[in-house]
Symmetry: C2
Subunit: 392 residues, 2 copies
Amino acid sequence: MKPLEGIRVLDLSRVLAGPYCTMILADMGAEIIKIERPGEGDDSRAFSPFIGEESAYFMSINRGKKSITLDFKNPLDMEIFWELVKKSDIIVENFRPGIMEKLGMGYTEIKKVNPRIIYAGISGFGHTGPYSGRAAYDMLAQAMSGLMSITGEAGQPPVRVGTSVGDITAALFGTIGIMMALHVRSSSGEGQKVDVSMLDSQVAILENAIARYEVTGKVPGPLGTRHPAIAPFQGFPTKDYYVIIPCGNDILWGKLCDALGMEQYKADQRFKTNKDRVENVDELDRIISDITKTKNTHEWVELMDLIGHPVGVINTIDQVVNDPQVLARNMIVEVEHPIAGKMRVAGNPIKLSTTPGDIEKPAPLLGEHTGWVLQELLGWNEEKIRAYLKKE
Amino acid sequence: MKPLEGIRVLDLSRVLAGPYCTMILADMGAEIIKIERPGEGDDSRAFSPFIGEESAYFMSINRGKKSITLDFKNPLDMEIFWELVKKSDIIVENFRPGIMEKLGMGYTEIKKVNPRIIYAGISGFGHTGPYSGRAAYDMLAQAMSGLMSITGEAGQPPVRVGTSVGDITAALFGTIGIMMALHVRSSSGEGQKVDVSMLDSQVAILENAIARYEVTGKVPGPLGTRHPAIAPFQGFPTKDYYVIIPCGNDILWGKLCDALGMEQYKADQRFKTNKDRVENVDELDRIISDITKTKNTHEWVELMDLIGHPVGVINTIDQVVNDPQVLARNMIVEVEHPIAGKMRVAGNPIKLSTTPGDIEKPAPLLGEHTGWVLQELLGWNEEKIRAYLKKE
């Protein structure tokens, strides 16, 4: 049994923040009825890369969901929508705030039809506040939240995190909010609205940057791979790529000098304590980099392992998807799509001992389950379904 | 009422991944009994920056929790621990896998004493697999997961995300797992184990990097602030900092040429369609950068707004903590600490309409609630408590 068996989600969301949230719910056993625009469907069906005509991007985020197409301007389609609202536990949307209200589908209306429903709106800036109605992209959320200003090399341009953490952390906080609302409903019997924004979510993960600024008044900047308070604790260039050397204390510093053949620096006053090394980190960086460049990464890893100093590798994506630990944890799983065939996607990181989730079914074709939904959920007879599908 | 009122969490975790998870649970109304080592307590009590002798880092992540000190080698302290296990709903730990078992406190033992308890172990590599027993830092998780390899400037060294996303996303997936286990328990009456790792969590957020590699066979690299498939859609240098120009289609391209006074490029074959612009993005970058450098960021924002082209700013932390939207959403809140005084911390991004969370209480002093726990939760009389506290 999966943890969310018996929970039905009406999913009006598109692209990433909403779909990532409903992906987690789907992996955990909820039934996701994804409502898409007739014709094009979710915008991300047009996002590269493609396998044939199918977007691998769309397929990776929408595995295990059911798809039905509805035109919100068609009264019969809206009748279907409201019937589905009555029969669902959760509704997820990531429209710009105000759009659902304009369509007559805001939380106030939804609640009237089904007071038990949990309504999650995931948006760029949230359903309140002066920027509420603005559109947002992941990049803008990363930029406006300060995250970009602390990511990159010191003295170099700010850098976007290489994955859409703006969307994804909003999806994660949104999922937590939904689960909390479900917990409350189990005793109160009432649903509620969950309002999560990309900007809020980025501020929530800024971690020590806020404390550092509040206490010292100094504006934190980017540090490359460097640790702000420990040195050397960063990536160094090797002959073929980079190696991470996390040297956390003075005993390790001695070992590191042995491993790198830099015994002459052991007693150097500039590098004696961690405080000294942090103060002279630029010089230290140059000295160590000149040495690490002389060997390949795997040679340094063997050497450091031998001498008992921690060491890390910076894997590239081709290495990650074949890493023994990643595979042992089922973090790369194969899904078979009826048209695109087999493809590998990221697995589910939430490992539950008695009710684990699972990734079995592929992403749906556009409107693949419209007939099924009308028949199984709304109880329409075949004739009515055939007439409806013909009219479309 | 807060969503998790009546839920008690036994928190054995230290530093960030575990404490961030229990911070969310605390903000949402759960009672967190943080068990710390006598003497030093949570390692992060020694992390800079400090307000007087109190770590602002520790205080920001541990607001609203109760602290009790227990020595796992002392039999009387272990009696207290097992009494607390009986009276708790959730236990959270982020030790290296195997440590809890060595202490005789693994999930098998915990479950015997309280089969309803939900046990969350948040670790670097997870409780199974070949690397399970290894120690991990956020930096190693970011490096090994591939995240670092896709973050940074093209052709430049990989970069660490400026916040500890390795720890924090593990905390978020862990919180989701706990809430799902709680949902299952509400019908089954049984707890279970939640096993979440930093490495798994990073792989789960790699998003399109995996799909791109699986489909094209090309290893994704870092792109600075650039979008992989749209151009120009990135940060550009200005006289005083940077500006984000997200030019999503050909109509916007025309507007952008007007705004930047580069009409001569409108009909340029190299930049005619998005496909052309992506192919010639390096040239485009040089041309636009030369222009954007001539004015300050706020001037470009006004100009682009006037001409109706989307535009974004890269805020620094000092701007973020004073941003009107961030403040309107209560994403920077003040907590009053008995020794350190007032300090501002990141707020709670999960906005629930009828049972919202709240951040009211400061982080605890080390062992501040030991007496309270013994009296209120375990029902010890004053004499017994006094004798116990004296012996310590």
